[in-house]
Amino acid sequence: MSARDDILGNIRRSLGVKGSETIRRQIVQDRLERAPRGVIPARGQVSGEERVALFKTMAEASLATVTEVESAADVPQSIALFLRNHNLPATLRMGDDLRLKVMPWSETALEISHGPSEGRDLNAVSHAFGGVAETGTLAMISGPENPSTLNFLPDNHIIVVSAKDIASDYESVWSKVRFTFGKGGMPRTVNWITGPSRSGDIEQTLLLGAHGPRRLHVVVVRE
């Protein structure tokens, strides 16, 4: 007997079931179909300005920095200013996300390169799929538009998120993922990011930039 059948057989023996019971199968299928939401914290259930403000507060509590700009056209200048203020080189790597590509980068002195990171980039920018106000979390979707390596290899990661994409809770983001990829479908990777990389493994001292970015900067586009 294969290990698979053996294990499933043992589970069924322990549970006292056959595996063929219609009612059990129905219960499981129903749950997978309906994907019921559980307890949703009231904290995130606010809208408009209040939701953006909560997102900002929570993201900052996770030690990210947050800037708001009026429109997408303001993003390059804002990022250039962030890099300058932190004495960082004027380079920036990004994927093929059209929302980023059409921004007026030429108005800045930033040296832009495209594609995934190979581990030597200092600065990168990605566009978020959405944000979650409840904990100041950003939801990133893998793909050529925003390669996952940009989320982790650069020292300084900048994430652009549209205010309208900031949801109250994780569940709302899952609804949007299902709408985009079909029920049960997923991109290779969804990354939830809440603040910059850190470790407390040495004497429980909190240190930023363990393996991922030392800085996480979020630009919220309000338009």
Binding site: S2, A3, D6, I7, L8, N10, I11, S14, L15, V17, R24, I27, V28, R31, L32, A35, R37, G38, V39, I40, P41, A42, S62, P116, E118, G119, T137, G143, P144, P147, S148, T149, N151, F152, Y170, E171, W174, G184, M186, P187, R188, T189, N191, W192, I193, T194, G195, S197, R198, S199, G200, D201, I202, E203, Q204, L207, G209, A210, H211, P213
Partner: protein, 477 residues
Amino acid sequence: MNVHSTSPQFKQNATRALHDPQLQKALNNVKQGFIDKRKSAADKLPEFEALRDAAHDIKNHTLEHLDLYLEAYEEKVKASGGHVHFARNADEAREIILSICRKADAKTVTKGKSMISEEIGINHYLEANGIRPIETDLGEYIIQLRNELPSHIIAPAVHLNATQVEQDFRRVHTHLDAKRDLSEPVQLLTEARAVLRERFLAADVGITGANFLVAETGTSIIVTNEGNGDLTQILPKTHIVLASIEKLVPTLEDASQLLRVLARSATGQEMSVYTTFSTGPRRSADADGPANYHVVLIDNGRSAMLGTSFEEMLRCIRCGACMNHCPVYHAVGGHAYGWVYPGPMGAVLTPSLIGVDKAGHLPNASTFCGRCESVCPVRIPLPKLMRHWREREFERHLTPASVRSGLGLWGFFAKRPALYRFATRAAMATLGFMGRQRGRFRWLPLAKGWTAYRDFPAPQGETFQARWQRERKGRTA
């Protein structure tokens, strides 16, 4: 074969730990940090207790339908282009992993933090077969350099201090300037980051564990603060997910409920920095990500726990809150427990996995203070399950003879009230008389353990029942 255990020597391990000043200093970090942070995170979320109930229910529901959720999960992983392997035990899991590594022609393997990988001792096995495993979680990296087991499930190197880490780095990172300054923790972190960055980029295979597996989508979830798990799984050509079968949850919504209690219970964060949902290998248009995605599902004793009282232990989401709040863990640290899982969760799980004959001390070494259960995000009744192990030991006559005979004697009298009153009256009168000068004993026969550390207060002399009978007889008849 599971990794070797020193659990039978728990007492000796504990005594050694109590006399290790270095360790005692490090353990203070556990007592101070985690508890306040968890409490503050829980207090900030009014729905926290309701979420604990939800987490408990989700895991119970999944376990009761585990066979079906595993089937659904397997189908989804395959549909997304991934491979699923089943392993009955540690040996089979190691064989499967080795053969995937061989197919990938792997020389080095990076690893995200995974307790199940400790359980099956994969590192030594890969090494013995010419493949170099590299732990990438900072704490795991440090203990790998020292050839130790983790002493805590989320803070593996919590038993060490910065000076010890510095010594290990100087010993191993010999390519670096011997005169470099490593006096600050941040310098240690920076050095590890640079060394491991090269390893990440060179690795042929990445092995991670999984905090959860989602049946709805065939997704594996890892949670880290460092980002090491992500670099482990997106850079090499092959990603292997190593997970025990109870990691299943039905849907993304269910996973989200559990994630809301996981970080808060573990580190007191609202959410860990990186929560990653991986489904299959890279898609054709993707610019990065692994080309091959394998999941190794390990039973290793879990299926036998279903349907018994120990099924409740399979709800565990490995947050570490139980050990963070355990006075025994605070006193002796994780290594004393002698195997992979320390603290209260280890005291229940270890006997299930390596046998109560070997791990019998662990469920006994508890005061049943109940603090672990009071913070468990999935409400596992840990003291009750430890008691169940004690019952099994008693039934199998594994309980020490001195305890059995002492209990037997006590039980004999307790079942005979008249005899009990007579005997205790005499005994307490004697003890009370002997102790009336000082009010306490510095030494008593049969209570050496007690009087080694504290005095034994003398009884007042007359028993309550004797005095009650004397004073009240007739009054309340």
